[in-house]
């Protein structure tokens, strides 16, 4: 129990047990499947407690990394893949966060999914999802990591397509899976390239040490980093592969909360944080990461401006916030990677709280509105759902980055890292532009967040008829998680970073980050004080966005001045990105598919011809199995004679 590795393994095993349990009850259609949520809630809760214990242990410890004894999974030639996990500050913090957030999402789901068909199935997949995510976080071997990475993908496919009778849900699930797979192709190629460069190692720690000691060709390493980044782009929904995430809203809302807040989409960020030692060596890869992050941040924020679907606003805001994280990650190398990764991880950490909160609040709204999520159909829910209203307000304020709330601190850290990178040595102009981009995004974020807030909760009370008798505050097992997460969204930022620097000191010790710092040759960061100028600009922009939203939407309805209508139309239609993809990729692909189809028909005919051959041979030799034992004996004797003759002739020659 005392060893961190054992603790981590227990945390990992808990959701697997929960999954087996839920799966068995679901398959057997046992009456126990009505309480299928219990194992998940318990395993997450115990996991969270153990995770916090682990966190304390890691913080106190003399050593800062524990690696389990590798158990060979398979080995062939140079390729050796083993089951091995690593506990270091980076994985410990993710572990604690994932289990903590999952606990509340699980509790919320037990209320939200109450009475749905496939209740057991839902919790079985959720447990498997949490298990895969924890495995991904802990894995210390690239191929093991891929296994869990794909496990997360499969679970998200199953969860997004949970209402599989609904065509749009099935299509969204397929889209999520296929688009992320696109990135995974690059990811796998990157791993193989690293395997080749890194002394045939597949263990992360060994690979990083090897590459740090014997730096490979810069171009090759950059290529490998960019390929890894492809995987992250797919999983973390970055431009140009972000299109799956908004569609993934077809899944039940707690799933959106789980996928978008604590798990899955953060996997890409985590991957890059984990691989910081590699990225720190390639400035070219870093500026690419930052640029993609910046483009995504502003693009998604712009699209979020005019969405009418509450969940879609949140989805695009997730995409945009993930862009922020990549912006921060991309500065590592120009500045100390320790600071860059800390900024990204800190934002990931606070974002997990307020985004889970926002999604769960949206879920609570959707639950009481009878499944309606279009903000034009309801409004003024302030009085009707007081707890949800307050929770959403906390989340929105944190997301907008209002001062002292958790989002403020983490966003500020990212802005600071960009500012320092802009004052650095390489690509200063680029980082400067990106700083501006992120500042504009701050404004837009505050605007669209509060637009959604005012449209939903302010103005006269309007309730869609689908709501029926549901239109009331949600039950306590849904509101309690909201309250807890609201406290987190408000307070977690100020509690761990700005005054005591606990978070950054904790991550400082991560061996991979130290290694990254050593390989990056970045200037040593003199600890300078709080950047008042940047913080004030950020605050002013956020308040400006809030104010604009208040002026435009305080009545709870949307009436647009004619001047900005075209801008909103552009935003509402998502910049026509889906249409552009349709025209540029899908249409030509359709033509190609038709041609391939025709060719395939030809091949199919050939294949049928060939495949009928074994059947024909079988039909031809079948008569020898005639059931007569005399004939069998004779054949055996004849066969023996043939063998002997064969040998005799061979010898005679």
């Amino acid at each position: 129990m005392s060893d961190p590795i054992d603790l981590a393994l227990i945390i990992l095993a808990l959701p697997l047990l929960a999954c087996l349990n839920a799966a068995v009850t679901a398959v057997l259609k046992s009456s126990l499947s009505k309480v299928a949520h219990v194992p998940l809630v318990l395993s997450c809760a115990i996991g969270a407690v153990l995770g916090i214990l682990l966190l304390l242990k890691v913080a106190d410890g003399e050593t800062h990394r524990w690696i389990s004894n590798p158990i060979t999974w398979f080995a062939a030639g140079n390729l050796k893949v083993s089951f091995t996990i690593a506990v270091d500050p980076l994985s410990a913090i993710m572990l604690a966060m994932v289990t903590f957030i999952s606990t509340w999402i699980a509790i919320f789901s037990s209320g939200y999914m109450h009475g749905e068909r496939g209740y057991g199935r839902f919790f079985a997949i959720m447990s498997l999802f949490v298990f895969s995510m924890l495995g991904l976080v802990l894995a210390n071997n690239f191929l093991l990591l891929v296994a869990f990475w794909e496990g997360v993908g499969v679970c998200s496919y199953l969860l997004v397509g949970y209402y599989y009778e609904k065509p749009s849900a099935a299509a969204a699930a397929r889209k999520a899976f296929l688009v992320t797979r696109l990135g995974d192709v690059g990811f796998l190629l990157g791993i193989f390239l690293l395997w080749k460069m890194g002394g045939w190692n597949t263990d992360l720690s060994a690979l990083f040490d090897y590459i740090a000691k014997t730096p490979p060709d810069q171009g090759e390493l950059t290529l490998a980093c960019l390929l890894l980044f492809c995987g992250a782009v797919g999983k973390s929904a970055q431009f140009p592969l972000y299109v799956w995430l908004p569609d993934a809203m077809e899944g039940p809302t707690p799933v959106s909360a789980l996928i978008h807040a604590a798990t899955m989409v953060t996997a890409g960020v985590y991957l890059l944080a984990r691989c910081a030692p590699l990225f720190a060596m390639c400035p070219a890869a870093q500026i690419t990461v930052a640029t993609i992050g910046g483009v995504t941040a502003i693009l998604a924020a712009f699209i979020a401006l005019a969405q009418n679907d509450l969940k879609r606003v949140l989805a695009y805001s997730t995409v945009s916030q993930l862009g922020y994280m990549f912006l921060a990650l991309g500065t590592g190398g120009a500045i100390s990677p320790v600071f860059a990764v800390t900024a990204a991880m800190f934002h990931l950490f606070t974002h997990a709280f307020f985004k889970a909160l926002l999604f769960l609040s949206a879920g609570s709204v959707m639950h009481s509105m009878g499944g309606v999520i279009d903000m034009r159909k309801f409004g003024g829910l302030r009085k009707l759902m007081p707890v949800t209203h307050l929770a959403f307000l906390c989340g929105a304020a944190a997301l907008a980055g209002l001062p002292l709330l958790s989002g403020f601190w983490s966003k500020d850290m990212i802005l600071e890292s960009l500012e320092m990178a802009a004052e650095g040595e390489r690509y200063t102009g680029g980082y400067y532009v990106l700083l501006l981009v992120s500042l504009i995004t701050v404004f837009m974020t505050a605007f669209y967040t509060f637009r959604a807030y005012f449209l939903t909760f302010w103005g006269p009370e309007r309730i869609p008829e689908e709501a029926g008798h549901h239109a009331h505050e949600s039950p306590s097992r849904m509101t309690i998680p909201l309250m807890i997460l609201a406290v987190g969204a408000v307070g977690v930022g100020i509690a761990v970073e700005p005054f005591n620097h606990k978070f950054s000191h904790f991550l400082d010790h991560a061996p991979t980050l130290q290694l990254a710092f050593a390989t990056s040759h970045a200037p040593v960061l003199e600890h300078h004080g709080f950047n008042w100028l940047l913080a004030s600009i950020g605050t002013a922009l956020a308040l400006g966005g809030l104010g604009l939203a208040f002026i435009m939407y305080r009545k709870g309805t949307e009436t647009l001045p004619a001047a900005i209508e075209p801008v909103f139309a552009l935003s509402r239609n998502k910049l026509y990105v889906d249409e552009i993809y349709g025209a540029v990729f899908v249409k030509p692909a359709g033509v190609l598919a038709f041609l391939s189809g025709a060719f395939d028909g030809f091949l199919d005919a050939m294949a049928r011809l060939i495949s009928s051959l074994p059947r024909f041979v079988g039909w031809w030799v079948r008569p020898i199995q005639n059931g007569l034992v005399q004939f069998y004996a004779l054949s055996m004797a004849l066969g023996l004679t043939v063998l002997l003759t064969f040998v005799a002739f061979k010898i005679a020659r």
Binding site: A76, R615, G618, Y632, M636, G639, L643, L644
Partner: protein, 536 residues
């Protein structure tokens, strides 16, 4: 010195018994069961007694020290790693068979059934450690003779009788052929001891070719061909599998193959002792002969399985094909002693490396995987069969995906494993065999690229095989039953099937322990590779 007073011989004669204590325990239990079975007819009782007997044998196998260094090499029993591996496989098979045969054992014949089963298992285990032609033959007969009885025991129909009769006649004939081959080997070397025969023939073979030894070994291969269902000695399989009782057929599909292959490897000198020498003319005749047998067996088994509508006949032909896959291991192992291992590399370094797969180790992995999935498939068929309605045709399985989800799920796992899809034990086995064939040293005069061709033929056949296995899965899940079947409610069989399915998946996810065990039993021979500097 007079052998009467040779102390070493005395010690050996005494020591030999310690090497077969578990087998003695099995046969002792069988005797008890036979004897008191006349008085008491209780299925539960004899099941428990037999199971305890198997457990006792396992405990003894684990505890009794087999290391007896003073043993003469000419003793008729060898306690080497191969022998131990085979023993454990046999003992675990015994436990599995006891469980899965539950529904077909009737109250009146329970004692005979379980007794015969234990004797056959003891025989299989003894084959693994036989070091003498006579011991080997007796051990093989110890499998065959109880099988005749087992096939006759639950006789209900003419089909049963026919199956038993055919098996008896053809088995006797194959034994006769084998004995004929043994007589040549004895005549040439003047000894029945396998170690002596191997040494003598190796010496003789290094000077000049010995045609008579080859004739002897070909006759032996013919006899063993019956056990391992190699074409053209496979004819009995479909008829017997169709007519025989399910549990017996499951045993018949695995134990004789296990025994046959280990006997083949032992007599060819591929396991135990120095595997760098084999006593027969390896580089010209034997691998080619076995190569042809393997290809014939795989191909014929697969194409005939394609046409079957009866699931037992289909499994029979598939078992023929799997016997062919396992022959690949023998073919590859035969090639290794002859390899010179000359490699050309640019840096001109010299080091000793072996091939990645030795052949026999792959064979052992495959036979365990094959045992798991074959036992499993028959267990599911047994579980779904009732005396009123046997599962015979593939169509009988229609719709069990809905009505019997657990049976269908486990059956699907076994079928996937038989196909050799990844993450099942069957995949691990096939991968090792194919890799063996692909990396076999191809520098012998006659074989050259034939190994690669063998791997390709086997792979094509694996694809053909996928068709008929997938067809069963399709029937199970995509069609609805015309007449829904009842299950026999035999809990032990279902538990057995689930454990087997679990093991199939476990060794698919994590084959390393199995591979390590097989490698311990049959280490990959090291070939000193002379790497010469690149000419360019």
């Amino acid at each position: 010195m007079n052998p009467l007073f040779d102390t070493q011989l005395q010690d050996t004669l005494k020591g030999v018994f310690r090497l077969v204590v578990p087998e003695i325990a099995l046969i002792g239990t069988a005797c008890v069961v036979f004897l008191f079975g006349c008085i008491l007819n209780r299925r539960w009782l004899w099941f428990t007694v037999s199971f305890l007997g198997v457990i006792l044998a396992m405990i003894l196998a684990g505890t009794v020290k087999t290391h007896t260094p003073e043993l003469l090499t000419s003793a008729s029993i060898v306690p080497d790693a191969t022998a131990n591996f085979i023993r454990w496989v046999a003992l675990i098979s015994a436990a599995v068979l006891l469980f899965i045969s539950w529904p077909e054992v009737s109250r009146s014949t329970a004692a005979e059934y379980y007794g015969c089963l234990l004797v056959a298992v003891a025989g299989a285990s003894l084959v693994g450690r036989a070091n003498d032609l006579i011991t080997l033959f007796l051990a093989l007969e110890l499998i065959s003779i109880p099988t005749y009885i087992l096939l006759y025991l639950p006789v209900r129909t003419k089909l049963n009788q026919e199956a038993a009769g055919k098996y008896f006649l053809l088995s006797v004939m194959s034994s006769a052929v084998m004995l004929f081959g043994f007589s040549y080997l004895y005549g040439l070397t003047g000894s029945t001891n396998l170690a002596v025969i191997t040494d003598t023939l190796t010496k003789a073979n290094s000077e000049t070719l010995s045609p008579m030894a080859l004739v002897g070994i070909v006759l032996f291969i013919g006899g063993i061909g019956f056990k391992i269902t190699a074409v053209p000695f496979h004819f009995y399989a479909p008829d017997v599998y169709e007519g025989g009782p399910g549990g017996v057929v499951a045993m018949l599909a695995v134990l004789p193959k296990l025994a046959g292959f280990v006997a083949l490897a032992r007599v060819l000198g591929l396991v135990g002792g120095d595997t760098r020498h084999i006593p027969f003319d390896a580089n010209t005749q034997l691998p080619l002969l076995l190569w042809i047998l393997a290809i014939l067996t795989i191909t014929l088994g697969n194409v005939l399985a394609l046409l079957q509508d009866n699931i037992r006949r289909m499994l029979a032909y598939s078992s023929v094909a799997h016997g062919g896959y396992m022959l690949i291991g023998i073919v590859v192992a035969c090639s290794i002693p002859d390899a010179t291992g000359v490699m050309t590399r640019s840096d001109g370094a010299t080091k000793v490396i072996g091939p990645s797969v030795g052949g026999i180790d792959a064979l052992f992995v495959y036979i365990v995987a094959y045992g798991l999935m074959t036992f499993g498939a028959f267990a599911v068929i047994l579980y779904l069969s009732t005396p009123e309605r046997q599962v015979d045709s593939i169509d009988d399985l229609a719709g069990i995906g809905q009505t019997h989800p657990i049976s269908a799920g486990t059956m699907a796992i076994f079928l996937f494993s038989l196909i050799g899809l990844p993450l099942t034990a069957g995949f691990a086995g096939k991968l090792m065999l194919f890799m063996g064939a692909f990396t076999a040293p191809a520098d012998t005069a006659t074989m050259r690229n034939l190994y690669r061709l063998l791997a390709v033929v086997a792979a094509v056949n694996a694809a053909i095989g996928a068709y008929y296995y997938l067809r069963v899965i399709g029937v199970m899940y995509l069609r609805t039953a015309l007449k829904p079947i009842q299950s026999s409610r035999a809990a032990p069989t279902l538990i057995g099937a689930m454990v087997l399915a679990g093991a199939t998946l476990f060794f698919g996810f994590y084959p390393q322990p199995l591979v390590n065990a097989a490698r311990k039993a049959a280490p990959v021979p090291e070939i000193p590779v002379t790497i010469t500097a690149d000419a360019k």
